[in-house]
Structures are given as C-alpha cells and as structure tokens.
C-alpha cells in the first residue's frame, strides 16, 4: 500500500519550469504541414468548379462570370480535398487558423480586373466559337435531317 506515489513527480514539477506556451503573448508556432486555412491565388483559378464540387461541406462557391471564389471560413473543415483536386494548383493550405468572430462571414476573392477582362474576352471568343460551332452543328443536323427525310421518301 503506497500512498502519495506521485509526490516525487509533483515536487519535481513544482521545481521545474512550466510547459505552458506563452500564447497569446507570443504568436503560435505552426508546423509546416499544419492545415490552417485555404488560400487562393485567385488569378490562376480557371473557375472550373472542381473545388466546389469536391468540397465535402459545400463551403465553396464560384461565380465564373464575375470571377469570384467565395469561401465561408466558418464552414471549412480544412480537409484539403479542394487543394488536392484543383487542377491549376491555385489553392494552397496554409498554417494559421481563421480568428474567431462574432459573425460567420464569407470571404469572396475576385480576380484582378485585367485578368477578368482577359477572361471576358476569352469567353467572348469562346462563345463566338461555340456559337459558330453550334451553328455548324445545327446546319449539319439540319442537313442530316433533310437527308434522312429524303431517304425516307425514297
């Protein structure tokens, strides 16, 4: 029957330095891999929507036209799946957590105007091309239909 078996350890603790961190007097230290929050280099984003689709929480939303990428940081579980999936690797997981707040606000990143412009231009072109392609396809279809009709007649 031993009593106070912990006395040695307790006394040793008493005379040694506490292990307590200095936070918040000193900033927190993070490990390199720490999954803190998601950063985006928005201009690289191609708005493919891969991240929004793969996010298990549905935290992300994008607006391709406006060139925005929106995240609700109070909803992100920092799983890093979006980072893994992003084809352009424009998402990164960085250390440091989102500070607590009284409101759950979403953050929206908007592409810089130049990029937006370029994109809009590109889109226009694309649209044009698409329209052309569509026209062509339609014409083709119509032709085919006509052909078919003809064949039927036969």
């Amino acid at each position: 029957m031993a009593v106070m078996t912990f006395a040695g350890a307790a006394l040793k603790n008493f005379f040694s330095k506490p292990v307590t961190t200095k936070y918040p007097a000193e900033p927190a230290e993070y490990k390199e891999r720490t999954r803190g929050h998601i950063e985006i280099s928005i201009d690289d984003c191609i708005g493919c929507g891969m991240c929004t689709r793969c996010c298990p929480c549905g935290t992300l939303s994008i607006d391709k036209i406006k060139g925005t990428w929106t995240i609700n940081r109070f909803d992100c579980i920092a799983c890093g799946f979006c980072v893994e999936k992003c084809p352009k690797k424009c998402l990164t997981m960085v250390a440091g957590y989102q500070t607590p707040d009284g409101e759950k606000e979403t953050v929206t990143y908007t592409k810089s105007p130049e990029v937006l412009e370029a994109e809009a231009k590109q889109r226009e072109e694309m649209a044009k091309k698409a329209a052309e392609a569509k026209k062509a396809a339609e014409a083709k279809k119509a032709a085919e239909a006509a052909k078919a009709a003809e064949e039927k007649k036969d």
Binding site: V3, M4, T5, F6, A7, A10, L11, N13, F14, S16, P18, V19, T20
Partner: protein
C-alpha cells in the same frame, strides 16, 4: 485583555477574507506549478469573487439565499468566537450548525447532484466530527480549559503533548478543506461525478457567499492549527505561521497526489486515524501524564 480579544476577533472578521483569498490564490498557484503549468494570477480568487458578486443573483429555491447567508454568518461566528478566546468546543458546535445550513441550502432544491452532495457532506461530517471533538478535548486535557484564550497561555506548545492528535487533525483538515482524496461532497476541481456536488445549485451571488465562507473557514481551520503551536512565548506565533505554511503546502501536495476516494473508505480511514493517532495520544495523556 478583553479588548485584545475583541480586536483580534474584529481583525478576523475584517481580514480573514483577505487572508483566506490570498491563501486560496497561493494554493492555486502552487497546485498549478505542481501540475507543471503557470496557473492563475495570485489575485485570481478575488477576481472570481468580484465577478460572482456582480452577476445577476440566481436561485433554484428562494430559501437558498437565506440559507447561504446563514451559512456565511455562522462560519464567521465560529471564527469570531475562536478569536474572541471563547470555548472551542462551542465553536465546533456552531461550525456544525453552519454546515447544517449549507446542507439545507443544497437539499432544499431537491435536485439530485446537490442532494447527493449534501448526503455526502453529512458523511464527511461523520468522518471528521469525532476527530474535531477529540482535538478540543485534547486541548482541554492539556490546558484544563476549552477556552482558546486559555489554551494559548501555556508555557509549552500543546503539540508537544499532542503529536498524535495533531496528525489526526491534519488528516481531517483534508476533508474540511475539501481537498483530494476527500473532496467527495464537492470539489474545487470541476470534474466530480456529482458535478459540483453540494454547490451544484448554487450560482452567482450565492456562490460568492459560499466562497467567502470558505475563506473564513480556511482561516479558522488554520487558526486551529496555530493553537497547537502557540504558547505564551510571542515567538511561537512566528513558529505557528511557519507550521501553517507547511501544513498548507502539505495539504496541497496531498491534493495533488491522490485520487478521490469513496465515502466508505473516507469514513473508515479517518476514523481509524482518529482512533489510532488521536485516541492513543489521549490515552497516553490520561494514563501516563495523569
């Protein structure tokens, strides 16, 4: 003489909370360091008390407020009587009356954690009461009086005659100060199987009152420890302070190195210690010192 007593009693009423709070703060700091952490600031107990008294007062049953006030009053009275140099056995009886009020404040709510805590408080009382009474009796045997004013007047410190009783009293002190391993009716640490036990339903202002009462009680109990040391030599007061400091440190060490035992073990062990240490001491006193 009377006025001296009066002054000490008034000092007790006025300063015991300060000393008690400070002691509490020191205790928490020491505890923290034993746990290898920084711990709260020294004045934390006062911050806590201030906050408690500033919150919106709450109760579960209206009579709680009055029971808690009575509890505080009788605790203060206990110490006051002791510092007035009055009968120490009576002090103890008043102390039990005070505990009774705390008990009532807990059971009046009918809620389970506080009721269980209250029942356990009674068991604690069963555990420590014999030793407390024996301590008083031992003082009486040594000094021929129950009055604290007389007890402090001898030439030799009572502890010389009463080492066994002293040990038993220190043991019992663990129960009274609600330290592990005997913090079974309520505990300073939050994680009790009965939550906050007897104080479960006591919040905001009432809890402030409770805290205050505890400080008074601490000072009173440490005063009891001092009684073992103090004799007619003024230097003995210094010795008493040192002993109190040691005892308090020991209590904290015990608190930090033991698990909370169950009530049956508590009663068994404390009665055994009472019987063996205090009982034997008194026996020796009776039959060998006449």
């Amino acid at each position: 003489m009377i006025s001296g007593k009066l002054i000490s009693a008034i000092c007790y009423v006025l300063f015991a909370p300060l000393i008690g709070g400070l002691i509490d703060g020191i205790g928490r700091k020491i505890s923290a360091r034993m746990q290898r952490r920084v711990g709260p600031p020294l004045l934390q107990p006062f911050y806590d008390l201030g906050k408690l008294l500033h919150k919106d007062p709450i109760h579960v049953a209206p009579s709680q407020n009055f029971f808690m006030m009575s509890y505080l009053f009788f605790i203060v009275m206990t110490g006051g009587m002791m510092f007035l140099g009055m009968d120490i056995l009576m002090c103890m009886f008043v102390l039990s009356t005070a505990v009774m009020f705390l008990y009532f404040a807990a059971v009046v709510t009918g809620s389970h954690y506080s009721s269980i805590g209250a029942s356990r408080e009674l068991l604690q009382m069963v555990a420590y009461e014999p030793c407390v009474l024996l301590t008083c009796i031992a003082f009486y045997m040594v000094r021929g009086s129950f009055e604290t004013a007389e007890i402090i007047k001898g030439d030799i410190s009572p502890i010389v005659y009463l080492p066994g009783v002293f040990v038993a009293f220190i043991f019992i002190l663990t129960i009274k100060m609600r330290k592990s391993p005997f913090d079974i009716s309520t505990s300073h640490h939050p994680n009790q199987e009965i939550v906050k036990g007897i104080t479960s339903e006591i919040g905001s202002r009432n809890f402030g009152i409770y805290t205050l009462a505890e400080w008074y009680e601490t000072v009173f109990l440490l005063g009891m420890v001092a009684l073992f040391i103090i004799n007619s030599n003024p230097w003995s007061i210094l010795a008493a302070v040192v002993v109190i400091a040691l005892v308090y440190f020991l209590e904290i060490l015990i608190d930090n190195t033991s698990a909370r035992v169950k009530s049956d073990v508590m009663i068994k062990v404390s009665w055994a210690v009472t019987l063996v240490a205090a009982g034997f001491n008194i026996l020796v006193l009776i039959y060998f010192l006449g």
